[in-house]
Symmetry: C2
Subunit: 266 residues, 2 copies
Amino acid sequence: MSEDKKMEETGISRRQVLIGTGALAASTALMQFGGLLRSAQATGGTTEKWPWPYEKLDPAKTAQLAYDEWYRVFCGAAVINSVVSQLREKIGEPYKSFPSDAFVFLEGGIAGWGTVCGSNAGANVVSNLIIGPRIAGKDCEHGHSIGSGMMEWYSETALPVFEPKEPKQPTKIVQTTSKSPLCHISVGKWMKASGFALGSPERKDRCARVAASVAYKLVEDLNAWKDGKYESTTDWAPGKDLGITAQMNCEECHTKDVPSPPMAKK
Amino acid sequence: MSEDKKMEETGISRRQVLIGTGALAASTALMQFGGLLRSAQATGGTTEKWPWPYEKLDPAKTAQLAYDEWYRVFCGAAVINSVVSQLREKIGEPYKSFPSDAFVFLEGGIAGWGTVCGSNAGANVVSNLIIGPRIAGKDCEHGHSIGSGMMEWYSETALPVFEPKEPKQPTKIVQTTSKSPLCHISVGKWMKASGFALGSPERKDRCARVAASVAYKLVEDLNAWKDGKYESTTDWAPGKDLGITAQMNCEECHTKDVPSPPMAKK
């Protein structure tokens, strides 16, 4: 059975989702999922006023910082620190009080469990930290959409795209497309294509370059947002379209039959 | 082919992993994965000194806070705020400067993508925020192991275990065991067992109760750590044992053949 045929049985074509012309903002998609919208009543955090001050950064410099930081704090904290460390110097608070290094745990898809790639999670931390959560109001919607857009870009792009000027590993690093935001799938496909083990220097350098690639795009998006030119690139609305939170590669796990979840209104 | 038989082909028995007597600390497991250990050289964060001050909290009160907060900020930020909001009052800084509400994006497995359950991610944020990342030294190793242990507990427990005294939904909420830390699988299995849709009030209340259940256990673990009595409960070391970052339910996605990753040393 073809991929398109399988997807049709779930009531949605992947192509339709990816190329859909009437792009819904991700925040709209999430409201469909959660069905809730209320004003934020923060519980006393002094830094919970968004957006935070932001100055445009250099994407290439940020990517190099993320590459270097990977070897100290791994993927998630590397992406976070590549942005936050620069804003600590340029702006100061509230960035100085944000404990980026606490996010080392994002490594290996959270403590090695292979769930969301730490680079994706780190990018979501940064965009929501700076622009704010979607519940904080209309000025803050792109924290969410930059993060969600990163997950889609990561899934659809042959990674890594960043090449360090002075690579810590001279071996050519092949590019692979994960079709998923998950560490296990992204790393697994790369290991299969390259033949290198998880513990190899080449795999580590691949992941450092992926973190750098994500940091590069993240700063491009943040700079566009600062200029008032960012537009959401994703219309991924699985809650509304599929009836369940999901990534796009249903068939990779559900090899035979993609189940149909119970749909509202029950 | 039986589950055990399949697992044997990957060189590891799931039962062996789950019941293994010689429990390795999760930090040891991760060093096997990353193969790196170096001292932290933080990039200027004023709050990057660990452990942070902590006072023991009441698990039941915290769970109720998480349940209520779910209806404002959803799973991940609810777990974070259930702890952080209390420590803001009891201790003040550095908790007052931590922007918990930025983590609304953890909802639906990060912006609805169904990856790691936000309650798991939120618990990892809290344990690593308070105790510190594993790179911060020996006193900080349990930030990592409490987080990783939560992923295992979540996967193996019939959830939700928390029952609110005044439930927002009166319908009986069935318990399901996800065998996975992922939102998509956890929510999907519950929807299948209950027949309720993603957008239903019952599904929302189920997820609010799951967040509360995770917050309850998180505070139990943090209190034990404060008393010097916390011991890591997980020996999950997929990098070392399986050669790839992974969760434990290989067969659920790899229905026929679980691939063997290239192993070090290449």
